[in-house]
Assembly symmetry: C2
Homo-oligomer: 170 residues x 2
Amino acid sequence: MDITYRPIGHFQTPHKHIKGMPIQPTGAQGIKGTILVLPEFREGLKDIEGFSHLIVLYHLHRSRGPELTVLPFLDQTPRGVFATRSPLRPNPLGLSVMPLCAVTAEGLVLDNVDVLDGTPVIDIKPYVPDFDSRPAARAGWLEGRSGNAATHRGDERFAAREREEGGGPR
Amino acid sequence: MDITYRPIGHFQTPHKHIKGMPIQPTGAQGIKGTILVLPEFREGLKDIEGFSHLIVLYHLHRSRGPELTVLPFLDQTPRGVFATRSPLRPNPLGLSVMPLCAVTAEGLVLDNVDVLDGTPVIDIKPYVPDFDSRPAARAGWLEGRSGNAATHRGDERFAAREREEGGGPR
């Protein structure tokens, strides 16, 4: 059974290349980007301005893969891909929680943008702390390492084989 | 541009019908369910047992829609679909943060399961508080209402036109 989605828009961001880009929103503080929402979907943005954060789901269009065992950015040990945020997933779906800065006529301005320019957006959901925030969750092998995402930058390990065709590090 | 995904497995849950089912994991405390992961993807589950919570992304296969303006379960005012967790989204992608109970030979046992039996699973990500937890986020029109999801149950407003073909309320 195939599941077919159609982008509702795409990201415009300063990240033109994988190499050197942030690997999580925590490493992209102050970097703004835009989701240009296709005109036929803009009605769906009504009331979104009341939310301080959004969950953005996007297609990691430059990811090569999949690989079921990956070497993540923040570790030296190979890990099962579903225990990582690597883009080399069987379905290369990216997820970032981003602060919402502004709603414009064409879409949304977001902060802490860790997404490659041109990335297709699949869905936008409001971040609701009761549903989505679990501050005491235990983070497995990432415990004590996830904070390093604030300073770590992408390299080419997840990039597609073609030169400069990155997957959006994650 | 179409994006094609293939399920990595599917949910087995006690929720056979939309009507009466929980609308969020907060309303499904103690209800366990299983993700049966297809054999060819099970290698990707390695190391996942260290995480207390997972982000599960699934295809709301019984959702009718899309509708850009919806009447959410927790409100009497129509809202833009991207400002809600309604299943009537242009791309009917569901997201739940669920506690991980056990890893088995066939897949994962999860708690607080608010998903319809048979729902196809698209991706599983580890929940990482540094990346995903924003306890102070402002929840727009859901502020002061999202707690009601703990007791609210699904009705048929999001169900497909066919009898008993629900979308997984959300």
